[in-house]
């Protein structure tokens, strides 16, 4: 293998699994260290800088970071990254002093943002410190988009959302709330310098089945129904409820129904439990509240009598795993199952839908009604129009919206300056800083904590089920957060190897608790992976290969299960190993601290 180029920012970035998995590349280990030092405000701002909505995300994020967490590979359960983020938000102090200065003298460029969801808000935050005049158009009376309309208050209290939305609006956004844009052309007539569309994926899918039209009054589209609940138009649901669908919206629908007085609630899913789209913890939350999840039941027919819904007939299927590893379903032979109900909530997915954008504006759309975009710049085929969030590539989540927003803001900035959106984009970068402070002292807590993942305390069951607005999770208090923070392996403190210092004494090989380090003859990667102290079987994780050493061998470190405990550096007599903190620079406008 060729020696590893550690100057490629992506190499060490990839080692920080959580940060790499986060669409917005939040520097997770760094903010967890700040929490451990009780510097909650700084931890919060570090989050705010990259993901814009730490308080919201600390409660509702899809957490791509947690399955990626190295501890899943070393000890099964990931660090409770999301809960720690919330702990930073809950315990922070006044952040005013940390907010970017908004210039009074504007730069003369006017930007229109359509839809006041997370994507548009984050674009506004990135652009405002650069003197842009930002206009935000929203059909609802308040900002927040689906964070407000679809996430129930028992998961995300309104005041948390208001705080983070208002923080951006108070930076000087020109808000045009209660104004639905029904024609793009009329907006473009106002001659903005650039437009950002962040209107989400607003159309909930429906199901055309026998009997569907006859019982229209009892069938509700999940996201629309949640939105009506959020804005107070619906405050109860009577009788028996079936929620169809296996995603997070389905979980929100069933738990909301329970709180609005439903006699019974069942979730019925076409597919098997393990392939449901809902996050593991959201399924657990629903089941803990006593809601049954019934799997392998594709719906067949809405059964009704005299125009009133009686129930739904489901087919019974069995999942069979094919040779390609995918599940397929075949009839199980059982008779169809009838489940009685008074209401059906349909949460089977949502689609992009932009009827208000005329198709003669030079914006191309594909057959799923998604715009044709440059994946890096998020620029549409009309150069002044950019897309982000769910409206760009279909339904994702808040953290993706933040990530898109940073990219779009850079693009808009370059576009307004007449620069090239690709060639002039700022590159990714990486800094390495040694953490060595003394012979045995490191500027991070190197010792490994073998504690199990700490559980988050919950509000008492009864009171939460009776009130839609009582938040179920209480969050980590300062002490639990400090304990959980210790579980972080500090994967951003990198093991950096300097080959010309190595005397090949084997001290690092002998001390490494995870058998990550080997000194072997160089070979092609596949053979090399097999020839190590512990064979490196996880091909997704890189090998760190040195140049040839004095004996002709190379140092090979399997990054897979390294604990970043620093013992290799402690035992190295020549400082060939050093523990260096990597700081990944993800290009972003108006970056905190710049």
């Amino acid at each position: 293998m060729e020696p590893t180029n550690i100057f490629d920012p992506n190499y060490f970035h990839k080692v920080v699994d959580c940060q790499h998995a986060c669409p917005a590349h939040t520097p997770v280990p760094e903010y967890i260290r700040l929490i451990a030092q009780e510097r909650y405000t700084e931890a919060y701002m570090l989050n705010w800088d990259s993901n814009v909505f730490p308080g919201v995300l600390g409660r509702t994020c899809d957490r791509p970071c947690e399955p990626a967490c190295r501890r899943v590979r070393t000890e099964e359960t990931p660090v409770a990254i999301c809960r720690l983020k919330r702990a930073a938000a809950d315990n922070k102090g006044d952040v005013t002093a940390y907010l970017p200065q908004i210039p009074l003298q504007k730069n003369g460029k006017r930007i229109a943002l359509i839809g006041a969801g997370p994507a548009s808000l984050a674009v506004a935050r990135d652009l405002l410190p650069f003197g842009y005049e930002v206009h935000l158009f929203e059909q609802d009376e308040k900002g927040g988009g689906f964070m407000r309309s679809q996430i129930p208050a028992f998961r995300l209290p309104e005041e948390v959302l208001d705080e983070e939305v208002d923080r951006i609006l108070d930076m000087g956004v020109h808000c045009h709330f209660g104004q639905a844009i029904d024609r793009m052309k009329s907006l473009m007539a106002q001659n903005f310098d650039a437009y950002f569309v962040g209107t989400g994926a607003p159309r909930g899918r429906d199901l055309e089945l026998t009997g569907r039209d006859e019982v229209d009054d009892y069938i509700h589209i999940g996201i629309d129904w949640l939105s009506s609940v959020a804005f107070g138009h619906i405050s109860e649901i009577k009788g028996k409820v079936i929620v169809m669908g296996g995603g997070n919206t389905a979980m929100d629908c069933c738990r909301t129904s329970l709180r609005l007085g439903a006699e019974s609630v069942k979730v019925v899913v076409r597919s098997a439990f393990e392939v449901m789209k809902a996050s593991e913890w959201e399924k657990e939350d629903a089941m803990r509240e006593g809601i049954p999840i019934i799997n392998n039941r594709p719906p067949k027919e809405f059964v009704h009598e005299n125009g009133k819904l009686k129930g739904v007939l489901f087919e019974c299927v069995t999942p069979v795993r094919g040779d390609d590893g995918r599940l397929r379903y075949q009839p199980s032979g059982e008779p169809d199952e009838f489940i009685a109900c008074d209401h059906v909530l349909m949460a089977i997915g949502q689609d992009n839908h932009c009827p208000w954008i005329e198709r003669d504006l030079g914006i191309e759309f594909d057959k799923w009604d998604c715009p044709t975009l440059n994946e890096v710049t998020l620029q549409s085929t009309n150069p002044s129009i950019f897309f982000g969030g769910d409206s760009a590539f279909g339904p994702e989540n808040i953290i993706w919206a933040s990530a898109h927003a940073h990219r779009a803001a850079i693009s808009i900035h370059l576009y307004c300056q007449g620069k090239d959106l690709v060639a002039d984009r700022p590159p990714e970068g990486l800094n390495l800083l040694s953490t060595k402070m003394g012979v045995h002292e490191w500027a991070y807590d190197a010792a490994h904590d073998s504690a199990e993942r700490h559980l988050v305390p919950l509000v008492e069951h009864e009171s939460s089920l009776n009130n839609l607005k009582v938040e179920v999770e209480l969050g980590f208090d300062a002490q639990l957060a400090a304990q959980e923070a210790q579980r972080c392996l500090n994967c951003d403190v990198q093991t950096v190897f300097t080959d010309n210092l190595c005397i090949e004494c084997d001290a690092c090989v002998d001390i490494c608790p995870m058998d990550c380090i080997s000194f072997v003859d160089n070979r092609p990667e596949l053979e090399l992976r097999q020839s190590l102290t512990a064979p490196a079987l996880n091909a997704e994780q890189d090998l760190y290969v040195s140049d040839a050493l004095d004996t002709g061998r190379v140092m090979v470190k399997d990054e897979d299960v390294c604990l970043h405990c620093g013992l290799c550096a402690e035992r190295c007599p020549t400082n060939a190993w050093d523990m260096q903190r990597s700081v990944v620079h993800i290009p972003q406008l108006g970056s905190y601290g710049e």
């Binding site: 590979r73 070393t74 000890e75 045995h440 190197a446 010792a447 490994h448 073998s450 005397i503 090949e504 004494c505 084997d506 001290a507 090989v509 002998d510 001390i511 608790p513 995870m514 058998d515 990550c516 512990a534 064979p535 079987l537 004095d550 004996t551 299960v561 604990l563 405990c565 620093g566 013992l567 402690e570 035992r571 190295c572 007599p573 020549t574």
Partner: protein, 351 residues
């Protein structure tokens, strides 16, 4: 020294041996020796050898004297019996332990100071006695614990860290062991576990006095350009004569060795000791030949390593003394003190 404790967590795919133990179960406390000390590699090699042989840790006795080397029994086989004895007196204590319980596997760890200076007499006599043990010397040619004076194994002309040459002839423990009757004599290098681990395994399975001299560089005081016991010097000047491997079941011949240069020796427990002759003319069963070869190499400034001599039919101390097969510590009082009449009968037999 290391202040961070070694985490108990281990690689998810770490192999377990026949006892269901992993290599980590054979470790000891975290070393307090200097970072990079060769002795730690030797400890790691012992850990690996014992683990791969599936030997029960609690059946070991590990004994040492004084010095950096003699600290190392703390760093391997945590679950075994240990005794850190007086300077140079490891052989006496080890002999006592072995006499009391001949079923124990005995590992004596010593250093060049402990064995070639203050304990030279003890060394000579335990080899003569052929105590059934592995006598392992971590040989770095310097007194590291007292900051780098020449030890008795330091080669003449080799310099100190400050450049002053050693004026005295070295004691070669390998030659002495060959002369005094050790039945398994090897030399290896802490930086070459591929050679060292199989040698330790073979020595542990050998019945009789097994002596291994391990050149183990002192990174603090004797790993410089004027040293003949540095990583660099040993890598450039060592010549392996016979590589050994202990195997179970059918012999496996690796392609690295030409035909006619390997052979197998039956071990008492049914395993096979496989010998690969790197030097085709070398005869590892010839004690005198080995002695000559080792000294000739030394004269040329080279270091002969590998399995230098083995006597597969060797006898050990208990055989010589014809002691009872049952360990003495298991004999009940009536067997140990057969009484007045038995004593009278013995006395009578001498009249």
């Amino acid at each position: 020294m290391t202040f961070v404790a070694k985490p108990r967590v281990h690689h998810p795919n770490i192999p377990t041996n026949d006892l269901g133990l992993t290599r980590r179960d054979y470790e000891g406390s975290v070393s307090t020796l200097c970072a990079g000390c060769g002795h730690d590699s030797v400890s790691a090699a012992i850990v690996q050898a014992c683990s791969e042989l599936s030997l029960p840790p609690h059946r070991f006795a590990k004994v040492s004297g004084i010095g950096c080397s003699s600290k190392t029994p703390s760093y391997f086989l945590n679950r075994s019996h240990g005794f850190n004895s007086v300077h140079g007196r490891m052989p006496s204590v080890m002999t006592g332990a072995n006499l009391a319980n001949r079923e124990l596997m005995c590992i004596g760890v010593s250093g060049d100071g402990d064995s070639a200076s203050i304990g030279l007499g003890q060394f000579a006599h335990v080899v003569r006695r052929r105590t059934n043990m592995l006598y392992l010397v971590d040989n770095n040619g310097t007194y590291g614990l007292t900051k780098g004076q020449f030890s008795a194994t330091n080669d003449k002309g080799s310099t100190s860290k400050k450049g002053i040459a050693n004026l005295y002839e070295p004691i070669d423990l390998v030659s002495m062991a060959l002369q005094l009757g050790a039945s398994f004599v090897a030399r290896s290098f802490s930086g070459d576990k591929r050679q060292l681990v199989p040698l330790i395994k073979a020595a542990l399975k050998h019945k009789g006095m097994a002596f291994i001299d391990v050149v183990s560089p002192c990174v603090a005081f004797n790993n410089h350009s004027g040293s003949t016991k540095s990583f660099e010097f040993i890598r450039e000047h060592s010549h392996s004569v016979v590589d050994a491997d202990l195997i179970f079941g059918q012999p496996e011949i690796t392609a690295d060795y030409a035909e006619g240069t390997y052979e197998t020796v039956d071990m008492p427990d049914g395993s096979l000791l496989q010998l690969y002759k790197v030097d085709a003319d070398y005869d590892p069963y010839d004690r005198i030949g080995a002695l000559t070869y080792v000294q000739k190499m030394q004269q040329q400034g080279q270091v002969a390593t590998g399995l230098l001599y083995v006597d597969p039919e060797a006898v050990e101390c208990h055989d010589i003394m014809e002691t009872t097969a049952q360990p003495l510590n298991e004999l009940a009082e009536d067997a140990l003190c057969p009484g007045h009449e038995a004593l009278a009968a013995i006395n009578q037999s001498y009249r």
